[in-house]
């Protein structure tokens, strides 16, 4: 083709080769809205593996973003906790439906974040979606499995039932950017807690895409809030926050410059429920998230409420 023939008018569409990709701005997800960090900061996200190519400038969440996220989570708590278990189950299942629709994007991002082959990344996405479905199905079974009638010695009806503990701050796993994230995120909300998730520091992009799924799902604003940024910078503020009821320290493993003991110690000031990272002694390791879990992560954020009432004529 001659140069003149190939010269197109400016109004003609670009050829596929010519087309410049529209990049996404990766934002925080707080109270159902996408926002840049109030600090105005971003940090560079690179692909894992040899290429190490630049992927995006992620928002670098600050302590004030965390504070705002806790406020949003607290505001959302009562309604979410009081929703029927059936409703919560459907809302969460709907998230899996939407994830399925975006699985290509997730796979691309997971592959880039974790340095996986497309085939392997696809498997991880499937596992993540399936895990979400697994947890969603627990919403209306938790109370039956974990609660029950207690045969007290007296003329009283006595029943114990689990309830959500409140606002949970979780450090998402640093390595497993989607499956691990969901393994931490889903068991918190399925029982009615609301949460502030500090995403994987270096692999946050699948989490941001998940937030876009959440935004278009039926999960009420504020129930799940995701903050990208430096784990060691923001986590201590969440651990010390007096309106946070529990912390999940899964992401303390492999987090730069962070000792989980410090977070647990800070959490003691308001007696947060603490789910320690896996590992022995002071070591924290990120577990293999692929096996079907048990109820440990659900139970960690439940309170048992016991109700007594006399039985009389």
């Amino acid at each position: 083709m001659s140069p003149t023939a190939s010269r197109r008018k400016a109004t003609e569409p670009a050829t596929p080769e010519q087309r410049i990709e529209v990049r996404k701005t990766y934002k925080l997800y707080i109270g159902g809205a996408f926002s840049r960090s109030e600090s105005g900061r971003t940090y560079k996200i690179h692909a894992a593996g040899r290429s190490g190519r630049f992927l995006a400038n992620a928002a670098m969440g600050s302590r004030k973003d965390a504070r705002d996220a806790v406020v949003a989570a607290r505001d959302a708590f009562e309604r979410w906790a009081m929703a029927t278990a059936y409703n919560r189950g459907q809302v969460l299942y709907r998230v899996a439906e939407l994830m399925e629709g975006r699985r290509g994007q997730f796979a691309t991002e997971v592959a880039a974040a974790e340095g996986l082959t497309p085939a392997r990344a696809d498997k991880v996405v499937s596992a993540a979606i399936d895990r979400w479905v697994w947890y969603a199905g627990w919403s209306d079974k938790i109370a039956q499995v974990l609660g029950g009638v207690n045969p007290v010695a007296g003329p009283y009806f006595n029943i114990s039932a689990p309830e959500p503990t409140g606002v949970v701050a979780a450090l998402a796993p640093q390595c497993s950017s989607l499956l691990g994230l969901i393994c931490v995120l889903a068991p918190i909300v399925v029982s009615g807690n609301t949460e502030v998730i500090l995403t994987s520091e270096h692999r946050p992009l699948p989490a941001v895409t998940l937030s876009e799924v959440l935004a278009t799902s039926d999960v009420p604003a504020g129930v799940i809030n995701l903050i990208t940024g430096r784990t060691a910078e923001v986590a201590p503020w969440l651990a010390a926050h007096q309106d946070v009821n529990a912390v999940d320290l899964a992401g303390a493993a492999d987090a730069d410059g962070l000792a989980w003991a410090d977070l647990e110690r800070a959490g003691a000031d308001n007696l947060k429920r603490v789910l320690r990272p896996a590992g022995d002694g002071a070591d924290a390791v990120e577990p293999d998230w692929s096996p079907v879990p048990d109820l440990t992560r659900i139970k960690a954020y439940l309170e048992t409420k016991t109700i007594w009432h006399p039985k009389g004529g």
Partner: protein, 332 residues
């Protein structure tokens, strides 16, 4: 049919122009509920009080003085009643310091016998009337029964309420019957009541048939509204008769009634109270629920027969320091 005074006061308390079954139902349903388990627990708690030494001696004598010594058998004869009256006046012939009982309680036809036997004592004659114990008779019969007893000199009338009417919600009927009997107690003709005073009316709720504590509370208030001088648990003819929780609720009722109206009403548990220990538990309850003012034979009675002898045995134990046997107290 009912006395104007009871009706007028009821209208005032209920805040209505005319007494209707509906207004009475609303009023009774407006009373606070009773939680059965809580009431039972409270009664059981009072049952753990330990009454020892001087307080036990005082309580035994006080309890003896509160007894309505009772015989209510189809086989009651004149001699049986005379024997009971003798026991009432001298419960322990070997110990003249033993107090006399408050009253003897008998069927209405035997009132003349008892009045005669107790002449000169301060012991009252209480007659059960109104077709006791079932109360299944026409109003005319109940009124006649009552008037006869009062005329014969009964100081106290123990009537039964119409439990069928109560349980089927005909509260106004129950009210009217009580008020009418009350009026009959007050009648005073030439051969009328002793001292010319009205007989005191004890209203038997037969709480065993009312079944629930809510009913006991409502029946208590209904009886007081209609003019009862005493509210009494039971006829003693069916089980359960008096229980601690039922008496507790009735003591709460008379306490609250006095707070509301300024009028003091008596309480009489009857039936099933057999031991001195039982009696002391009841006294503790009177003391701690209704208060000091009710710790008095004028305001609290035990309807009992075998209780007296157990109190006497305990009394002898306190006096002699050794346990006693049934042969050392008289059977009647």
């Amino acid at each position: 049919m009912s006395s104007p005074s009871a009706t007028a006061r009821a209208r005032e308390l209920l805040g209505v122009g005319a007494l209707t079954n509906a207004s009475m139902t609303r009023w009774l349903n407006g009373l606070p509920g009773v939680d059965q388990v809580g009431a039972d627990a409270r009664a059981a708690g009072l049952g753990t009080r330990s009454i020892k030494t001087t307080s036990k001696a005082w309580a035994i004598d006080t309890a003896i003085g509160m007894i309505d010594l009772t015989t209510l058998e189809g086989a009651d004869t004149e001699s049986r009643v005379r024997s009971l009256c003798a026991k009432a006046m001298a419960p322990d012939p070997g110990d003249p310091t033993t107090p006399q009982v408050a009253a003897v309680c008998i069927y209405s036809d035997l009132v003349p016998v008892a009045v005669d036997a107790l002449r000169g004592s301060n012991i009252h004659v209480a007659a059960v009337t109104t077709a006791f114990p079932a109360g299944r008779a026409t109003m005319a019969v109940k009124l006649t029964d009552t008037r006869d007893a009062v005329r014969a000199g009964a100081h106290e009338i123990d009537m039964v309420i119409d439990r069928a009417a109560f349980l089927s919600g005909r509260y106004l009927q129950v009210f009217n019957e009580i008020a009418a009997i009350k009026a009959a107690c007050a009648q005073d003709d030439a051969n009328g009541a002793a001292n010319g005073a009205a007989a005191r009316l004890k209203v038997i709720l037969e709480t065993g048939e009312l079944a629930t504590y809510d009913n006991v509370r409502r029946a208590s208030w209904l009886a007081m509204l209609a003019g009862a001088d005493f509210i009494k648990t039971s006829t003693g003819k069916l089980s359960p008769a008096a229980t601690l929780p039922v008496t507790l609720i009735m003591l709460e009722a008379v306490r609250d009634w006095r707070d509301l109206t300024g009028t003091q009403i008596g309480v009489k548990p009857a039936g099933g109270i057999r031991t001195a220990k039982d009696a002391m538990t009841y006294l503790v309850m009177v003391n701690e629920i209704a208060g000091d003012d009710w710790v008095d034979p004028h305001w609290f009675r035990f309807g009992a027969s075998s209780l007296l002898n157990d109190l006497l045995l305990q009394r002898q134990k306190l006096a002699n320091g050794r346990y006693c046997g049934a042969d050392y107290v008289t059977i009647d």
